[in-house]
């Protein structure tokens, strides 16, 4: 693969899902099998492209694609660096697993083609956010993904789903507005929208209060998208109300690509991290970590419990990333990857349970492992991974985060991280106890096994949970995680690297 070919991969991340979405919306109603096929191949294509991109940045370094051959900063640039490749792999990996799951799962909803249209639109939006090098363009993609997700939360069109979607839409719009306001201020201050250009303008000039104000707007806006406490309240309503595959997407990747990725990109690469922002991020992270898990442990609705855990786990990621040391960033990013795998797996498992039994209430389940051994086992694996039990992947990332936090002498945060981990274990053992172990209830004696595609999807994610720890073996780490860590820990180099790549 030459450099030109490598460059031509970059727009594919938006083009493939967008085309898929377009084709499904016009042809899907007529050809019944088309939505499944197109959805699967579009996400698989994006995943393959993301894997190719890993190879590309290891050979050529940061790559910049100018849309329509207009050179940045006038035209829109798409930047492929270590961090965006990392996020692209995460997003498309989960998207393809979810797509395989949906083939069977979405059968019990009507108009599957609408689902796939919105789903691929959301994937296109997330890929766009991650790949773009232009801050207004980032906002546009963010809105594409957000609006698609509002519609998907309401997809079941039951009463509580519509209510959750309404709340989510209202609050999400408020957050988006603040983000837009922040971008307007930034544009007026720097006279450019290209993120690399903006970073070099800001690095040259003196720091101004307007940057601090924009920081607050972005902290709120993107903090909302990544569900940090106290901007988290939409999540426990919205995520459980969506169909299970969408819950998996929302908790698994949406909050990360729209929220965490954007926060990190802006604060580390554009503004340059300051001690104050760093401590605010760590504080918000620790707060989400603890509040989230305390809220989760008392829930009896399985999906709601999982949703609260997303808040808690996002807290770990932000705690690690906010720390700013290379070890902390490594831990944060690795936890981000792991969390998207095990949390989407947990949501898919909850979907499988709901598919078979029609309930999400833990108290109504019981002994399901006798009837659904695959789901039970994958759920046990994912639970152990999220609780940080060795040798599953979550253990390694939590370990790195704890070591990094202790290394920075933040013993208090380390203590809260450990405590949250204990409570996470407790609440997932509760799930296992009430849902899967114990006596099988009479009314579940007739349930069938889970359909094949759902099993394939769950098993493959479970395998990643088991072997995920290999990503920190030096060779694998240098290829994948370290590239992303470099982008963040040498945050101020972003402008020069990207501007050089444009030339």
């Amino acid at each position: 693969m030459t450099q030109t070919t490598a460059l031509n991969i970059i727009p594919l991340f938006v083009v493939i899902p967008l085309t898929g979405s377009f084709l499904i919306s016009i042809l899907g109603r007529r050809f019944k099998a088309l939505p499944d096929l197109l959805g699967f191949f579009a996400t698989l294509g994006s995943l393959l492209a993301a894997i190719a991109a890993v190879w590309a940045i290891n050979s050529y370094g940061t790559l910049v694609y100018s849309v329509g051959a207009w050179k940045a900063p006038i035209g829109i640039a798409m930047v492929l660096d270590g961090l965006s490749v990392f996020m692209l792999v995460v997003v498309n990996l989960i998207a393809s697993a979810v797509c395989v799951f949906s083939i069977n799962y979405m059968e019990h909803y009507t108009s599957k083609w609408k689902f796939y249209t919105l789903f691929l639109l959301m994937v296109a939006g997330m890929n766009g956010v991650v790949i773009t090098g232009d801050i207004f363009n980032l906002f546009v993609f963010l809105e594409i993904a957000s609006v698609a997700s509002y519609a998907l939360v309401a997809f079941g069109t039951e009463k509580h789903e519509l209510e959750a979607a309404f709340k989510y839409a209202v609050m999400g719009t408020v957050a988006s507005l603040f983000i837009l306001l922040g971008i307007v201020f930034l544009y007026s201050f720097t006279s450019t929208l290209n993120m690399a250009d903006m970073a070099s303008v800001l690095a040259g000039g003196k720091s101004a209060n307007i940057i601090l104000m924009v920081s607050v707007l972005f902290l709120m806006g993107f903090g909302f998208k990544s569900a940090l406490v106290p901007f988290h309240a939409w999540l426990p309503d919205a995520h459980p109300s969506a169909p299970a595959p969408i819950s998996a997407m929302l908790s698994g990747v949406l909050i990360k690509s729209l929220g965490i990725y954007a926060l990190i990109r802006i604060f580390y690469n554009i503004f340059g991290i300051t001690a104050e922002i760093s401590s605010i991020l760590m504080f918000l992270g620790a707060l989400s970590m603890v509040i989230g898990v305390f809220l989760a442990i008392g829930q009896w609705d399985l999906k709601r419990l999982l949703a609260y855990h997303s808040i808690s786990q996002i807290g770990y990621v932000i705690l690690g990333l906010g720390l700013g040391t290379p070890l902390g960033i490594l831990g944060g990013l690795f936890h981000l990857f792991n969390h998207s795998v095990f949390k989407s797996l947990l949501f898919l498992n909850s979907g499988a349970i709901e598919y078979e039994t029609g309930t999400r209430q833990l108290k109504e389940m019981g002994g399901l492992i006798h009837k659904m051994p695959v789901t039970g086992t994958t759920n046990l694996i994912a639970s152990m991974a999220i609780a940080g039990i060795p040798p599953f992947n979550g253990f390694f990332s939590k370990l790195i985060i704890i070591i990094a936090v202790v290394q920075a002498q933040r013993y208090g945060y380390a203590f809260w991280a450990v405590l949250a981990s204990v409570l996470t274990l407790a609440s997932f053992l509760k799930v296992m106890k009430y849902a899967f172990f114990g006596e099988l209830k009479k009314k579940w004696e007739k349930i069938q096994g889970v359909p094949a595609f759902m099993k394939i999807s769950m098993i493959s994610l479970a395998i990643i949970c088991v072997i995920g720890g290999v990503l920190i073996i030096p060779t694998a780490r240098e290829m994948f995680l370290d590239r992303a860590v470099d982008v963040i820990s040498n945050g101020s180099n972003y402008a020069s690297v990207v501007l050089k790549a444009i030339m």
């Binding site: 902290l219 442990i297 008392g298 450990v418």
Partner: protein
């Protein structure tokens, strides 16, 4: 990274690993009989063998990260193995055990991180950290918490009695009674002897934990009504001796602690396996319903008797030998100006006496006394268990005798003293072999006198009270469970027992109350009203504005 940096084979780990293999073999043989009719046997044996391999790896690990990976995985295996029980509360118990063990494992991560920050290495040998900074003390406590939870010392002990009651008996005999003791005390010894340099205060702390564990757990054991649960409390009490021994900080005490760890694993799994045999044949472990089994299950009875004499510290069995060493270790601490030695000694001896007392009750209630009607009139007459079950029991009972009689020649010389690596000086010698000969002679004389008495042919008849045979009047039957119930009525003890019954000392129950209290408050705040949520967002933003722009 070479293999040397990851694994290390020293005398301590080799000693522990030999017995890990031994107990695994014993458990597997016993399970062949006990678990025969259960379901999912393939996973059961798979987990057993995995436990064996992972424990070996943990014992030989020389890298803290590697160690904690294996150690943490053992918690999961324990959870899965307890889950094979079929009692009503089994799942709750499995959950509780794993939360306590997994929770302390998480704190171990914290401790390991602290060690790494202090020394810059994860390698276990070559570390010698003085306990003179807050970080070092915190690190030691975090690691010790992991060891305590695994071994079942207070305050992380509460999973042990529950597990004993609800898990399948071979699992209890395998994990809480033998393997987890070996591992927990191995790790406690590893951190106390090698990784950290102990000081006076930390040794005293260990001795307090040990003494409290001994006395409190045995007091709880006295009033139990369930065979396995009673044994579970003794499992906690015995850990106290080991912690006490290691806490003395002198070679003889540490050797005693390690020796007691080994002895306890032997007789405690012997007790559980015999208890399991009783459960297998009678279908119950409730002491009120058992009785008079000595004639029907003689092999089980003998094995149980020997093991209970050993646990009570009756010479010449092995429990006495190791307790004797621990006592010497405690007395030895007086030389370093430790004026509290008297308290530890009294606690240890008092605990030993109460242990004997509670085993008197147990043996009476299970094997002697009158059989309960339901048990006696069962469809199939109760008979001895099959060889796959009695061979392990007899082997363990035999070891109790062997390690007690040949105490210097076999266990100490071959395993314990090499593991310590320091010369051990005995201040009060105990000539085991001559003493045994005297004891055996005494017993033989006693038997002769008994037989002589029989030769006169007195009339034998059933026990009767007020002209009626006891077996005809069920309420006249003495089960033995009530022996010590009156201690619950004594002043301050009454108060403590009441608190204990309310689970006030159970770290798990207290923790879950606190957690759910806070959870209730937070749920009250999350009322689902959109304007409230929006108000939080704005409030959060205002606070951020204030912080950044003031």
């Amino acid at each position: 990274m070479t293999i040397d940096q990851l694994f290390r084979f020293d005398n301590l780990s080799i000693f522990v690993s030999i017995f890990i293999v031994f107990f695994s073999v014993i458990t597997i043989i016993y399970s062949l009989g006990f678990m025969r009719k259960e379901k999912r046997l393939i996973s059961y044996y798979l987990y057993l063998i995995l436990t064996l391999l992972v424990s070996m790896a943990a014992v030989f690990a020389n890298n803290l990260i590697l160690f904690v990976i294996f150690w943490g995985f053992l918690g999961l295996l324990l959870y899965l193995l307890i889950g094979f029980g079929d009692k009503k509360r089994t799942q709750a118990t499995a959950k509780k055990a794993f939360i306590i063990i997994g929770g302390t494992d998480a704190f171990m991560l914290f401790g390991i991180a602290l060690i790494w920050v202090m020394t810059g290495t994860f390698k276990m040998d070559g570390l010698n950290i003085a306990l003179n900074s807050k970080a070092a003390i915190l690190a030691y406590l975090c690691l010790a918490a992991g060891a305590f939870a695994k071994a079942g010392a207070m305050p992380f002990h509460t999973w042990v009695p529950d597990t004993a009651e609800d898990a399948p008996t071979p699992v209890t005999a395998f994990l809480p009674a033998s393997l987890d003791k070996l591992l927990g005390i191995y790790f406690l010894a590893r951190i106390s002897l090698y990784i950290f340099k102990m000081n006076f205060a930390m040794n005293t702390f260990l001795m307090v934990i040990g003494s409290v564990s001994i006395v409190a757990a045995v007091m709880m054991a006295l009033v139990q009504h369930d065979l396995k649960r009673l044994l579970g409390y003794h499992a906690v009490s015995q850990v106290g001796y080991m912690v006490l021994g290691i806490g003395t900080g002198n070679p003889i005490g540490i050797a005693g602690g390690l020796f007691h760890m080994l002895n306890n694993a032997i007789y405690k799994s012997g007790l559980f396996l015999s208890g399991g045999a009783v459960e297998k044949r009678t279908g119950t472990t409730n002491l009120d319903k058992l009785g008079g089994l000595a004639k029907m299950m003689p092999i089980t009875f003998i094995a149980f008797l020997i093991a209970s004499l050993a646990i009570s510290g009756v010479p010449p069995f092995n429990g006495f030998a190791s307790k004797w060493m621990i006592y010497q270790g405690i007395i030895e601490t007086a030389k370093n100006g430790n004026h509290l030695w008297f308290i530890w000694l009294v606690a240890a001896m008092f605990g030993s006496a109460l242990t004997l007392a509670s085993f008197m009750k147990l043996i009476h209630a299970v094997f002697l006394g009158q059989p309960f009607d339901e048990v006696r009139s069962a469809q199939n007459p109760i008979r001895e268990v099959g060889p796959t079950m009695w061979i392990p029991m007899v082997t363990l009972a035999g070891l109790c005798v062997l390690f007690g009689v040949l105490v210097y020649r076999v266990p100490l010389k071959m395993f314990i003293l090499p593991a310590i690596g320091e010369p051990v000086s005995f201040i009060g010698s105990w000539w085991a072999a001559p003493a045994t000969i005297l004891l055996v002679a005494g017993i033989i004389i006693g038997i002769i006198i008994y037989l002589l008495g029989k030769a006169v042919k007195p009339r034998e008849t059933e026990i009767f009270v007020g002209g009626e045979r006891v077996s005809d009047v069920p309420e006249m039957r003495l089960s033995g469970t009530e022996f010590y119930n009156t201690i619950q009525e004594i002043g301050i003890l009454k108060f403590i027992y009441e608190l204990a019954n309310k689970k006030f000392f159970d770290i798990y129950e207290v923790g879950s109350k606190l957690t759910f209290g806070f959870n209730g408050f937070l749920r009250y705040l999350h009322n689902g009203v959109l304007p409230t949520y929006l108000a939080w967002c704005l409030l959060g933003m205002m606070v951020l504005f204030f912080i950044l722009l003031r």
